[in-house]
């Protein structure tokens, strides 16, 4: 799963500053030329501080999203309605833990430790995808997450396989392969519900109603309020704008919903022949920014669960470290 680059306030850049005079202009020029030539930047290469900071923020947000994203799905593993669905969900959540790990490793190559990143998540300083602050109320939500949330994630992540930072791009190649399985299983689970009993159909439509708009919000603020986008495009951290990706997602997903017999919860949705895409209604940006600020419906529950898991198990990590130290001592003796 994926988080886009989240800023705390509309119109206010978070961290990215223009390239400062403090940095050697020859180095900057050489860096920008490499990026423009689609070369990968590697950990030991020189890079502008703002590039490094943007990447650490974006990659760690992405890693945190994978980890927090285990919670809404974990909520249903124990209640998955068949052995096959349970196995699929376990495999999916396992993939997500793996994605979190690759991404933390990719971010660590930029000089920030995993402990620092986790501390930033738990203190509320670091963000994660707004989508995980919505609750999973029924089994259909698990199907909807696979179909819509992982679908949106793929849309975001495919271009990131060509992002300019080498370790991030390579992590993305691996992640994308697994995400496409996540999306397919979600759609397949949704199909079963949409073709099922009246109760299952109701569940499916209700989940679709609740997840549609938050999925559109996953692409981040509109381009006119996405101050980091221009810089990120220039540095090829991003390859397409939020609105471009959002439009692609709508155009692909609406026919899928129609095939399922589900109604898109947007009275303004209509095909626009001229642009060859759908026009859709206004996203509730107040809600988006509120969720980014940590006011999502289950934001407290998610963070409490993460902190509790971390704090109540601190003794395990301490024991592992103590044991390792003893072992080394014995080897040295």
């Amino acid at each position: 799963m994926y988080t886009t680059d989240l800023t705390k306030q509309p119109g206010k850049p978070d961290n990215v500053k223009p390239i400062g005079p403090a940095e050697d202009s020859a180095l900057v020029a050489a860096f920008e030329a490499r990026v423009a030539a689609d070369e990968f930047i590697e950990p030991k290469d020189w890079m502008p501080e703002a590039y490094r900071r943007t990447l650490v923020r974006q990659i760690s947000q992405h890693a945190h999203s994978e980890i927090v994203g285990m919670l809404p799905e974990g909520n249903w593993i124990t209640r998955a309605p068949s052995l096959r669905r349970k196995a699929i969900l376990l495999a999916k959540v396992q993939d997500e833990a793996g994605h979190g790990l690759y991404l933390y490793c990719a971010a660590e190559t930029l000089g920030t430790s995993r402990e620092e990143m986790i501390e930033a998540l738990h203190s509320g300083k670091a963000k994660y995808s707004t989508i995980f602050n919505y609750p999973t109320l029924t089994w259909a939500d698990i199907a909807a997450i696979g179909w819509l949330v992982d679908g949106a994630a793929i849309m975001n992540q495919v271009p990131l396989q060509r992002t300019s930072y080498g370790p991030y791009a390579r992590a993305m190649v691996r992640i994308c392969k697994e995400e496409s399985f996540h999306q397919r299983q979600g759609y397949e689970a949704m199909m079963e519900l949409a073709n099922g009993t009246p109760e299952q159909k109701r569940m499916a439509q209700d989940a679709f109603n609740r997840w549609w708009w938050p999925s559109l919000m996953m692409f981040g603020p509109p381009d006119e309020n996405s101050p980091n986008t221009a810089q990120s495009l220039r540095w090829r951290i991003k390859r397409e704008t939020n609105d471009e990706l959002r439009q692609k997602f709508v155009d692909i997903t609406v026919p899928q919903a129609e095939y399922l017999g589900l109604t898109v919860p947007d009275p303004d949705l209509k095909w626009n022949e001229d642009k060859g895409g759908y026009d859709f209604g206004e996203i509730d940006w107040d809600e988006f920014y509120a969720v980014v600020r940590g006011e999502g419906p289950v934001a407290r529950e998610r963070m409490t669960a993460r902190r509790e898991a971390w704090e109540s198990n601190a003794w395990v990590r301490e024991a592992a470290a103590a044991h390792e130290a003893k072992r080394r001592e014995r080897v040295a003796a």
Binding site: A189, A309, R317, A319
Partner: protein, 260 residues
Amino acid sequence: MAEQARPHGAFDAPSDAHDPIRAGYVLRLGDDSLILGQRLSEWCGHAPSVEVDLSLSNLALDLVGQATLLLGAAGDADTLAFKRDVLDFRNCLLVEQPNGDFARTMVRQLLFSTWQHLLYQRLAVGTDEQLAGIAAKAVKEVAYHRELAGEWVVRLGDGTEESARRTADGLDWCWRFVPELFEVDAELEEACRCGLAVDPRSFEEEYRASIAAVLQEAKMAQPADQRPILGGRRGHHSEHLGHLLAIMQYLPRTYPDAKW
């Protein structure tokens, strides 16, 4: 095994109706894997580190996979998993024990996986082709579970004072359920007699020695023997199993006509 038409919803009539002994034995194995897989999946998202979360969900996935094959050899796997009540479950009491803290989870895993590994090594070369095939596939997974749990018990036992205390508590909790793993009742005796099952007493000594070796490396004292708690194989479980089933079975029971 020959395909046979079964009456709809006849979950208590094993597909291999000619051989209730076989179905009963396979059910014991399948229920062990299913219930432990269900328990481990409760950890998802709440483990001490991302690496541990990965390991635990990996174990759970292996166990659910084993359960699917084993219950499938006894009947319709989903019907067996989701439509039976407590009295019809045949798992041992150890696997249904609540997770407790991470130390208890790992002790439970060590005690079970060691037993399962020794058993499956033997079943894999057994005479029942289907069961041997399932065991041969699972034995590789279980070898890893045993190794992982052993490493954690050593780390925690020989870690800090707190982790050693918690590991001792976990052992103390789980130890009374170990004798059940080696209990041979009339049903199991019959399954052994016809060459299907393995008599667990044949590897009890090896089991005890293996656990003792891990505990020694973990600098943990061997727990004193406790009065055995038995009954799981006859459907007499702890109070915990009903709650586990209530969660696990809630959807198929609420919507009995639905397919998922």
